[in-house]
């Protein structure tokens, strides 16, 4: 009996040890990736990175045009995608809460949420780039917006569903029409959560590369013309990292560091936003 007992204890200890090791393994990757990024990218951080254009091979320069390009693309994408996501999420949580349509949309949206982003790029190429005859910032922004919609929709629906029904009922009892209940009661109560969704979607698209490859393409020069090909940070990293030039590779690492820090700050900020929401 004691031998069996010891064997079980040993097995349990072994399993717990493995689970601890697995956790350290997972955390190790995070530390390793961030460490390498800091080590390789930090040296390249300078004012020039934010004030100069991407250089030709062999010369020095910065990442100004891709940074600005990324900011423009991301802002347009969020401006296009957020309203659709919020309105659709509102419908699913309010007007159509128990409708069949809602469960179908939720299912489809969850699939879009994890759909391969390169396919979104192909789709936008087919419907925008090919008919227009040229690559453009608009196409890139639309591709990114298609990634924003499912993220915002999902969080909006979840957050509005969390609003307690008595709050709605109290408003209805005053004779307030539904549209006002939604806008002044539900949105107000769910505001922090909805903002989290938007921040998460920004974090998601600011590192997206695949959907921009055949939509916004790239631009070596300063350009804020949204109707023309537009540079973006991820694409420049892709191009520079795979190039044989050391200067370009160093810039790619710096760009990678900038993106990662921005994305991590956004995701941590989004989490802090929901965590600190103590008052209703």
């Amino acid at each position: 009996m004691t031998r069996l007992y010891r064997a079980r204890r040993r097995r349990n200890g072994l399993a717990m040890g493995i689970s601890l090791a697995a956790t350290l393994f997972g955390l190790g990757w995070l530390v390793l990736i961030l460490g390498v990024l800091l080590w390789k990218g930090f040296g390249g951080l300078s004012v020039a990175v934010f004030t100069e254009m991407t250089p030709p091979p062999g010369a020095t320069g910065g990442l100004l045009n891709p940074i600005v390009g990324s900011l423009i693309l991301t802002s347009i994408a969020v401006a296009l995608g957020t309203p659709v996501g919020i309105l659709a999420g509102t419908y699913m949580a309010e007007y159509g809460r128990h409708k069949r349509l809602t469960s179908v949309i939720r299912f489809v949206n969850d699939i879009l949420l994890s759909a391969p982003s390169i396919v979104i790029g192909l789709f936008v190429y087919e419907i925008m780039v090919f008919p227009m005859g040229h690559f453009s910032g608009w196409a890139g922004a639309v591709a990114l917006a298609l990634i924003v919609v499912p993220v915002v929709l999902r969080t909006t629906e979840d957050m509005i569903l969390l609003v307690p029904n008595p709050m709605r009922e109290a408003a209805f009892a005053l004779g307030v029409p539904r549209v006002y209940v939604i806008r002044h009661v539900c949105y107000r109560a769910a505001r922090a959560g909805m903002l989290t969704g938007v921040l998460l979607s920004v974090a998601r698209i600011s590192g997206e590369t695949a959907p921009l490859l055949f939509t916004a393409l790239n631009n070596q020069f300063w350009s804020t013309d949204i109707n023309a090909p537009m540079a973006s940070l991820p694409i420049v990293i892709f191009q520079f990292a795979l190039s044989p030039y050391e200067g370009w590779q160093a810039l790619a690492w710096t760009g990678a560091l900038i993106i990662t820090l921005a994305v991590l700050a956004l995701s941590i900020g989004a989490r802090a936003l929901t965590a600190s929401r103590k008052e209703p």
Binding site: A15, M16, I18, T23, V104, F123
Partner: protein, 334 residues
């Protein structure tokens, strides 16, 4: 009545009526704005369905020329020759499936063990930070994994794990062909391992969430009988959450199948099927990312779009099954 109505005033100051007639006018305006808002939100919701439909239709439309030209043989031929315009998809499909399988083989057990740690072993105050740290792995953009994989991970594998595998397992008859050839660094195995790190947070997060749905009574009963933590996990928690765990794994698989940039950096882009997992290969997404902009000729472009269609259909099925399994668990737990 009139006086009573006159006192109604809304926050925005939109309603301040003096008599019943004005009131009915305001009411009908409110009703109208409610109808409009209802219609607008429903249109936005339906737009999501339209997007999915449009994606599928446009991919089918773009893929038609290639599918007409090659028929079903597109699915099982290996040649990929832009010069003679002969295209077949089996090499990228093979690469996609094998890299994803490697990723799942690593990520699922590790993810489950991390979830076990987070739900049973970890002190409560440490749960949230560790959970968030693991989830941050999911937030790192895939291009970062790519550049990191190419410059740090691939050389590391080339000098350590791969020579080791060739020397030990490479000599084993049968199994050895999986580890044949020189250590390139980049290749199927490297891509699979990078994918494993990328899907690890998804598997972990979902496993942890479904483990938490196990009613405490079940676990307490087992503990009360003297079961160890591992026995409770193995015989109570895992059987209870099997559907959810499989669903989470499939969700990770869906991610791995469609992952583009990280794989493009480290796969090596060789359009052939090689018995060895150390050899370079290609995946559907890497092929599209590398070749689409350089593709000349309608047939070439169309073949790449056909690849995209295949990828979309595969991931669609995998994700649909995953969602179905998770949904069932959600319903069961109320």
């Amino acid at each position: 009545m009139g006086e009573l109505m006159a006192e109604i005033a809304m926050r925005d100051g939109t309603i301040a009526v003096a008599d019943v007639r004005a009131r009915s006018k305001v009411l009908s305006r409110l009703r109208r704005s409610d109808t409009v808002f209802h219609a607008v939100t429903r249109a936005a919701a339906v737009a999501v369905l339209v997007i999915l439909g449009a994606v599928i239709l446009s991919l089918i439309d773009g893929a038609l020329p290639a599918l007409r030209q090659f028929g079903l043989s597109f699915l099982y031929t290996e040649r990929w020759n832009p010069v003679t315009e002969k295209f077949g998809a089996i090499a990228p499909i093979y690469g996609t499936v094998v890299t994803s399988l490697i990723a799942m083989l690593v990520a699922v057990p590790v993810g489950l063990m991390i979830a076990l740690f987070l739900t049973e072993l970890c002190p409560t105050w440490l749960r949230r930070p560790v959970g968030i740290a693991i989830e941050l792995l999911a937030g790192i953009p895939s291009i970062i994994y790519g550049i990191w994989g190419l410059f740090v991970f691939a050389p590391f594998l080339q000098h350590t794990l791969q020579p080791f595998l060739i020397e030990t397992l490479g000599a084993v008859p049968g199994l050895g062909m999986l580890f044949a050839g020189p250590p390139y660094g980049i290749g199927i195995l490297t891509a699979g391992l990078i994918l494993a790190v990328m899907v690890l947070p998804f598997v972990t997060a979902i496993s942890r969430d479904v483990f938490e749905t196990v009613p405490p009574v079940l676990k307490e009963a087992a503990y009360g009988m003297g079961c160890t933590t591992w026995e409770v996990f193995r015989h109570i928690v895992l059987p209870y959450t099997r559907g959810g765990v499989v669903g989470g794994a499939m969700l990770g698989l869906g991610r791995a199948l469609g992952e583009t940039m990280a794989v493009t950096f480290v796969i090596g882009n060789a359009h052939r099927i090689s018995g060895s997992i150390l050899a370079p290969g290609t995946t559907i997404s890497a092929t599209i990312a590398n070749e689409f902009n350089e593709a000349v000729g309608d047939l070439y472009t169309s073949s790449l779009i056909a690849l995209g269609l295949i990828l979309f259909l595969i991931t669609f099925v995998v994700l649909a099954v995953a969602r179905y399994l998770l949904l069932r668990l959600e319903r069961a737990s109320g």
